[in-house]
């Protein structure tokens, strides 16, 4: 017997899903409810926040006090295994450009640690080309997706407030938490500038979710990024994959790194091949339908690596569009101090895991020198100390009088310094802009012809540059942040020295972890990869339900739209199966 052989997974399935994040988890959930035999492949280990616990732990329980490590780039308590670089799984760049790719290899993927910001795309967000002439419209409209947003709201839970803003559609909301102290100051300050500050919209159960006995309500520890032991927030692992597995209709294969989609002589998908990371053996699994949900970039990688005589450019890539139009949200930040909050009274202000208020995009781009908007996220207050606490006190304690009302030289040591840490605790705050980039054909990922990962799978090579549109947007963010900080009675302490030379502090592409666009949706098979139901134009039994099909990103976080579109696509798929079209 040869040492190297490909083993066939004995069971045959109706559907094989690759990836268990928001898109894959939703597909698995919907298929499970419909009683369809499904296999869910995940490139990382099993993960259940009720068992893999970092919630309610103290900083001293981590020897590095919660700072990042090569295995958890977002910190020792963060729920995401992985990060910007994975050992043995490189990616490369072209022409000196940059794209940082965050990968969480685990059941639930990046939904385990995300900010739970759950915004619907608005009517304008599906038709940006009609407004500014740039990029392309989606083939579908808000009205097509709205019923699915409603159902996602009810299935998963999201808090927020009814605002009636045209492009920020209201959802079916749980009640929001009251603003924290610094958020009240921000709200007051922004009001003077005519900048709206409204309750945030996060998928956290401020109240028990009606008709759901499996999930507890939020108990306000501010630690959603650690995963919730009572499932009081949304992660695909706890809210979608877990019930899908319990249905008995879905099997999960963890540590399954997918190599390619296998096709038959007619060009249809018949299953996938994967390497099992535990035994390093090669496997195949057969299914009538293949659903890719491995992340926008990873799904593009699988397609481009799935070459056959029927699909010489890679599967579903007759258009040559796979990998192109990659885009991430823009990001820029600024921070400051609220001098009137020094020496503040202590109380528990953890709240939910994230901001209680935010600013949706409020201006008209027709009157600005950049075409797309951004929203603003706020943070600050008396959080739990972690690695980095107190760092750089010399930039603060020389600038303000101490508890005794006297000025003293910056830095220092001893009892007086020790008291400064107490005195300035909870007085710092800041904000981050998250904006829409214009999707462009020349921002893309492709297969690096020279490089493979440790499993022998050809890796992605990125080519990504921000355009003047994004740089001007970042400049506007910075100007706005400074105004808000000062209007709130604060003093800017960092993030204000950026210039055109560093693109006004615009975060490197990929850093906001909203990668979308690589397998975009459209009616024209020459210019798009999937149709309006996330079904590949040139391979009917292949669906893509991650962020890849996004035509444009909107100034919103993509998760809620990935969930809604995945639900919609999966129901369409089930319908087509019933009609014997699939």
């Amino acid at each position: 017997m040869s040492v190297f052989q490909i083993k066939e997974t004995p069971k045959s399935y109706d559907v094989c899903i690759v990836g268990s994040g928001a898109g894959g988890g939703m597909a698995a959930y919907v298929l499970a409810q419909a009683g369809i035999k499904t296999v869910l492949l995940e490139a990382g280990p099993l993960y259940d926040p009720a068992k893999n616990v970092t919630q309610l732990k103290w900083p001293w329980e981590s020897p590095r006090r919660g700072s990042s490590s090569p295995h958890r780039h977002f910190g020792d308590f963060d729920a995401a295994y992985g990060g910007w670089e994975l050992e043995g799984e490189p990616y490369t760049h072209k022409d000196g450009t940059q794209f940082d790719w965050f990968r969480a290899r685990m059941v639930g993927g990046r939904t385990n640690h995300w900010g739970r910001i759950s915004l619907r795309f608005g009517p304008n967000d599906f038709k940006r080309k009609n407004i500014d002439g740039l990029g392309d419209n989606w083939p579908i409209s808000y009205d097509d997706v709205a019923p699915y947003y409603d159902r996602v709201d009810q299935l998963i839970g999201v808090f927020g407030s009814k605002e009636g803003i045209f492009n920020e559609p209201d959802g079916i909301f749980l009640p929001p938490p009251k603003p924290r102290l610094h958020e009240l100051f921000i709200k007051e300050g922004a009001k003077k500038l005519d900048i709206p500050v409204i309750p945030s919209r996060l998928s956290i159960l401020t109240r028990p979710l009606p008709d759901n006995k499996d999930r507890g309500a939020c108990f306000f520890c501010a630690q959603c990024n650690r995963g919730c032991t009572v499932y009081g927030d949304f992660s695909s692992s706890s809210v979608l994959v877990k019930p899908a597995l319990q249905s008995g209709n879905v099997d999960v294969i963890p540590n399954a790194m997918v190599r390619e989609v296998i096709t038959d002589n007619s060009g249809n998908a018949t299953g996938v091949s994967f390497v099992n990371k535990d035994d390093l053996q090669e496997y195949t699994v057969n299914a009538r339908i293949v659903v890719l949900a491995a992340s926008a970039c990873e799904s593009a990688r699988i397609l481009l690596n799935s070459k056959s005589s029927q699909h010489p450019n890679g599967l579903a890539n007759e258009s040559g569009v796979v990998g192109k139009y990659l885009h991430d949200s823009t990001g820029a930040d600024m921070g400051g101090i609220l001098p009137h909050l020094v020496g503040r009274k202590r109380y528990n202000e953890d709240g939910v895991g994230g901001m209680h208020v935010y600013t949706p995009w409020w201006l008209d781009n027709a009157k600005l020198d950049f075409p797309r908007g951004y929203h603003i996220e706020y943070w600050g207050g008396m959080g739990m100390p972690g690695y980095g606490f107190g760092s750089g006190i010399q930039y603060t304690n020389g600038k303000y009088p101490g508890r005794d009302g006297k000025m003293k030289p910056a830095g220092g040591y001893g009892a007086s310094l020790k008291d400064d840490y107490r005195y300035f605790y909870g007085a710092t705050f800041g904000m981050s802009g998250r904006g829409e980039a214009v999707a462009r054909e020349d921002n893309y990922c492709e297969i690096d012809p020279n490089t493979v990962d440790k499993y022998g799978i050809p890796v992605l090579r990125f080519h990504y540059k921000w355009s003047d549109y994004e740089v001007k947007q970042a400049k506007h963010m910075k100007e706005t942040f400074k105004q808000i900080i000062e209007s709130a009675g604060g003093v800017v302490t960092w993030g204000h020295t950026d210039t055109a030379a560093n693109q006004y502090g615009l975060a490197a592409p990929g850093r906001i972890i909203h990668e979308v666009g690589t397998t975009r949706m459209g009616d024209d098979p020459r210019r798009s990869v999937v149709n309006r139901y996330n079904q590949a134009h040139t391979c009917k039994n292949l669906f893509i339900v991650d962020g890849g099909p996004f035509v444009s990103q909107a100034d919103k976080n993509p998760t809620w739209t990935i969930l809604a579109l995945s639900m919609r696509a999966t129901e369409y798929m089930i319908d087509e199966m019933k009609k014997q079209n699939l």
Binding site: P45, L46, L181, G390
Partner: protein, 217 residues
């Protein structure tokens, strides 16, 4: 379960067990017994890395003795709480430089720089100096805006030590109690306490009060 009981259950640590359905999935494969007890979720790769780091020793005895003196100068015992060494800061620094190797040279080199300065001034290493001499030396490097240009390397080193000491101290049990951080426990966030709102002349507007989450008292 009523909500108060629910919170209480959470607080004693059997986190929501009654709420959770047993998973039908198998447990993660257990790795061999770790030398260190981990109270937080760890992957096999993390456990292996941690054991490797713990098996290494970076600072020698003299360096550790110097670190102990320095961190207690930075954060001494006072009326509120114990000192940096009481909070285990030297051990934290030993671990963190191994964990973040980019800190190794700045800290080791800085300790040596400090000893050389003290040798020049007092003909003794820093730890062998008396309390007065130590403070005289520290005064030269502890105030970035007042320090002489030739002390800049010392200032950079002391800034690093100040940061590491503050982080090590205020992320310890002693430090968190000192700071008065009272979160990290189940609770019901019902807004900023009234007396704090009053202190700053703030109030929640009618709409916020009407639409925000309310709790049974």
């Amino acid at each position: 379960m009523d909500r108060r009981k629910y919170l209480k259950t959470l607080a004693v640590g059997s986190v929501g067990a009654g709420l959770l359905i047993q998973s039908c999935e198998t447990e993660k494969p257990q790795t061999q017994q770790a030398a260190v007890t981990h109270t937080i979720d760890r992957t096999p790769a993390e456990i292996a890395r941690e054991e490797k780091l713990r098996a290494e020793t970076f600072f020698n005895e003299h360096e550790m003795a110097t670190i102990a003196v320095l961190v207690d100068i930075i954060i001494p015992k006072d009326d509120v709480s114990g000192s940096a060494t009481d909070a285990g800061v030297p051990d934290f620094i030993e671990f963190i430089v191994k964990d973040k190797p980019e800190l190794k040279t700045p800290v080791r080199g800085g300790l040596r720089w400090l000893d050389v300065q003290c040798m020049k001034r007092y003909n003794k290493s820093f730890v062998d100096c008396n309390a007065e001499q130590r403070i005289e030396m520290i005064d030269e490097i502890a105030f970035p805006e007042l320090a002489k240009p030739e002390m800049q390397q010392g200032v950079a080193f002391f800034n690093t030590m100040r940061d590491l000491t503050a982080t090590g101290f205020f992320t310890s049990k002693i430090g968190i109690e000192d700071l008065g951080y009272v979160g990290n426990r189940p609770n019901q966030w019902d807004g900023v306490p009234q007396e704090v709102l009053d202190q700053y002349g703030l109030q929640y507007d009618e709409r916020t009060l009407a639409e925000s989450v309310k709790f049974d008292t």
